[in-house]
Subunit: 124 residues, 2 copies
Amino acid sequence: MSGISSDVIRGYNDTMILYLLLDRPSYGYEISKMIRSLSGEKYVIKETTLYSAFTRMEKNGFIMSFSQLAENGKRRTYYRITESGRRYYRDKCEEWLLTQEVISKFISPKGQRSLTERDVTGSS
Amino acid sequence: MSGISSDVIRGYNDTMILYLLLDRPSYGYEISKMIRSLSGEKYVIKETTLYSAFTRMEKNGFIMSFSQLAENGKRRTYYRITESGRRYYRDKCEEWLLTQEVISKFISPKGQRSLTERDVTGSS
DNA sequence: CTATCGTACTATGTCTGTCGTAGTATAAAA
DNA sequence: TTTTATACTACGACAGACATAGTACGATAG
């Protein structure tokens, strides 16, 4: 299998989306493409996850939507990050650094610590 | 509010617990203390989270429980990691490395990318 | 002309891990 | 005797991710 489980990513989808909005507004389809490519094809956000994140974040005041005609004449919903959204993003970045630090203490590269055979069995 | 949100840690509580069981069996209270101290007091697992993790992981075959009398004469439920649990732990470690790699692409240290002054704030 | 594909969404309900709240029980300490 | 630390269990709420399904429209292929 391999890949990133949804439990891990949970709570960081918002952060990823906001990151992509820092420079300029964007819309669903484009953002999903950007996440895919920026992650090196390692993570693909689900459509429902993406759009529900938009809804949630707009409700929370982190982004604002506006409708605009695309080159092809189709109407799209764009999202722009707000000041509050930038603050939230910054906080999440800090939280991420902390999280990394903490979780890393519980990770051992080979998945093992000093382990002698007899530890595996025996109680009585 | 700083600290680690539960959404972030979600899915890594199990990993932390398993890490602490790699060497020897342990029990709830001790594990919670170890998580607290190993994380440098930065993360404190909730009791309910911990015990429900035990239940879930035993059901999944990652750990096995056994009851034993403690020094003080009280009966405790200890947990021992299984082979399957070790494998799961190793997988989670790999997943973690991948996750770190991916999420880090969406994190900018100051929470900002090319950004002109006026966007930031002014308290002046 | 029709079918399919890519784009751009919305709706609805399920699942699962975390957490709030609360309660039980015992030994040691105050 | 009351409090504190230890060592749990039960129950329900919550929220984010996801599965599934459907709508709509333009471009492209056959």
